[in-house]
């Protein structure tokens, strides 16, 4: 349906940005840069898929960046400063993400609080906790824990390419997105989740446990944010609690919306979201690489691109609804 057209739209935008950037910077198409882009896109792809689930049920999660920060700071803090075993720390921080999501979901579903408020408070609380627990000091792996860091640091060389290798994060993204696609498109649960987002009342009247699907979406989102937080810290090695993961929720939401998720709920495609995440990364990359764009206006550029995407999407929607109006 129109989902495919939306994906095509964001994909052409991605392609256009890539072509334009490579024309303006010889560095863009180097193996090192491309591999780096793939690695970052994969990491952001993971948290963006989480954001997509919440948006599909008609909600929003503003706390993603703070969950990334909390998990990302707690992991090295536990491993390095307190000598907690990896086998305890990793399940611990991942479980923490799921529990936070469960809290969001229950507050939204049972107490009928607005998702914006619940997750805005989450954004503040988890950031505060991350800074408080670590004493606002930089935490890091200090060249240890090579084993677990290989999860994101491994490169799978491609025969025939000398400098280019497939980053292991891409494999992680492939696994996460495959699971998400199977869930959304091939299971009854996914259909129920989409129906819940499309029209919660009609889904409930159809005998669907809409309450459970809403909670599930928040659990998936915060769970993936926690998982992403772990991947991010394993990738960069050290983090400042005050700014680690800042604005990540906005990148994730923007990727989901660019990729075809409607904030009205009920619509979304995993592939589109990944393309959206890639577009966000390429844009940032382009701003860094292209000389005549000053780096400090990067947020302005990203914002302008997203609003342009939203305007064209809205225009498209109007044409469709006008057509529908005209036919009786």
């Amino acid at each position: 349906m129109n989902g495919a057209k939306k994906i095509l739209g964001v994909f052409s935008l991605l392609l256009f940005t890539c072509v334009a950037t490579s024309a303006m910077s010889p560095y863009f198409l180097t193996a090192y840069n491309l591999e780096n882009l793939l690695r970052r896109t994969s990491l952001f792809g993971v948290i963006s898929i989480g954001a997509a689930f919440v948006i599909i049920v008609g909600g929003i999660d503003l706390s993603i960046g703070s969950v990334v920060a909390l998990v990302g700071c707690l992991l090295p803090w536990m491993l390095v400063e307190h000598g907690v075993s990896i086998w305890l720390a990793v399940p611990g921080v991942l479980g923490l993400g799921l529990v936070l999501g469960l809290c969001h979901g229950l507050l939204v579903q049972r107490l009928r609080l607005q998702p914006f408020i619940v997750t805005l408070c989450g954004l503040l609380i988890y950031r505060g906790l991350a800074r408080g627990i670590t004493g606002d000091q930089t935490v890091g792996f200090q060249n240890e824990f090579k084993g677990i860091r290989s999860l994101v640091k491994t490169r799978f060389p491609l025969p025939g390419f000398e400098d280019f290798a497939i980053p292991s994060t891409l494999v992680i993204l492939a696994v996460v997105s495959t699971l998400a696609i199977v869930f959304l498109r091939f299971t009854v649960w996914g259909r129920h989740l989409l129906a819940t987002g499309r029209n919660e009342s009609a889904a409930r009247h159809g005998g669907i446990r809409t309450d459970r699907y809403v909670v599930l979406a928040y659990v998936i989102c915060a769970g993936l944010a926690g998982f992403g937080g772990m991947l991010f810290i394993l990738d960069v090695g050290s983090a400042q609690p005050a700014d680690f993961g800042n604005f990540y929720e906005l990148f994730a939401i923007a990727a989901a919306v660019l990729g075809g998720c409607s904030l009205r709920g009920g619509e979304g495609s995993v592939i589109g979201v990944i393309i959206g995440a890639a577009l966000m990364q390429v844009l940032q990359n382009a701003i860094t690489l292209i000389d005549w764009i000053p780096d400090n206006i990067q947020y302005a550029v990203i914002g302008a691109v997203i609003i342009a995407g939203a305007i064209s999407d809205e225009g498209f929607r109007r044409i469709v609804s006008r057509r529908r109006l005209r036919s009786p």
Partner: protein
Amino acid sequence: MLQARNIVKRFPGVVALDGVDLDVAAGEILAVVGENGAGKSTLMKILAGDLRPDEGELLLDGSPLRLRSPRDAMLAGVSLIHQELSLADNLDVGANILLGREPRSGPFLRRAAARAMACAALKSAGLDIDPDTPVADLGMGSRQLVEIAKALSVNARVLIMDEPTSSLTAMEADRLFETIERLRDQGTAVIYISHRLGEIERLADRVEVLRDGSHVGSLVGAGITRDAIVERMVGRGLDRTQGLRSGIDIEAGSRAPMLEVRGLRTARFPDFPIDLVVQQGEIVAMAGLVGAGRTELLRAIFGIDRPVAGSIRVDGKDVATRHPANAAAAGIAFVPEDRKADGLLLEESTGENMTLPSLAVHARGGVFRRRHQERDAAAGLIRRMDVRPDAPDLVAGGLSGGNQQKVAVGRWVGCEPRVVLLDEPTRGVDVAAKAEIHVLLDRLARDGAAVLAASSEMEELLVVSDRVIVMHDGSIAGELSRHEASEAAIMTLATGGGREGAMSR
């Protein structure tokens, strides 16, 4: 006074209006009838400036009238009162009447003048309330009158009303009719659209019938009878549903009870426990005025609103109705009153809607979807329900009201329900689709389901039920067998007359 000449309106793939003429005179009530899709709404939208015709012209008092927007029409004295009321219920009555036309000096509202204007408008609409009353406090009937007051305050000379009584009680409707008749006597031209032929019999001075975008007949004065209207609307006599259930004789206790409700107290009426049994293969209709507690009862049985107390059994087994999912699993189906908000996913395809409640049945292990099987099931249901057009990929929101309702019922048929609850199953549905839905209910009952349908339409209550339960103020006021049931008997019970022994209609 207002004339439409040779109006043609084409939409992609269809001619909605094919050269229609219509005129209405001052001091006349003109009823426009036709099945859904006959072109009534399109024609009204053209008269009210919502749509522009492809060909033809409008004349007001003999001179050409060009309408570019609803505002143009309003200023010319033509007001359309929409089926879905468009009042802002966070504001008071006066503010709504004068919305956008407030008397003011500079940026400030002239309160005294506004109040006087609102009072005058309310008076001419026959509504005796203070303009400071919040709209949220008003019933649907009074809101309709506020809409009329709003139209009158712009000096409406032509008033177009689209299904004004669809959510009114009988008494509210009566009051509305009185106002309409008084406006007519004062020289207003009224164009009245309704599916309820009884109202048209009572009100209309003239009836114009549309079918498939063309004008197919007129009736005047004594010639306006239900049968004559129906015959022109559908192009044939309508006798399919007459005596639909007459071959069936179900007496109390003659069959196995399928749905048993014991001591059910809804949150809205916690003081009145409801006891109710519907037997296998039986169709029970639930009558009552708006607000009598019928919707609350159905919602409680299906688990949408949690009851305060009481038990529900299906086929002898207790059902814990904490959530519609429990009810659905026990074989209960519910077709809600508002199919657009609660019944269908309007943006999704007919096929997807048809299989939504029964997805797990078609899935491998109850989880992994088998799309071919889903598609086959959807296509089968669409054929069985006679949904037109019969394309599973078409968006459900594009279907006519009657066909949407067939989907809302059909999605449960795929689950083979044992109890079917329906709330106003034929609201806003044209005559032909209404008959088809009645046939469908009959078939469900014949297949062994227990059917419980709340309805405000007398014809429906009398034609398709084996028994009528009448509710009044949250409790069951009485029960009538098919032989006892009559319009008068139902109204007596519904207005509380069963208790006081007086009919207050």
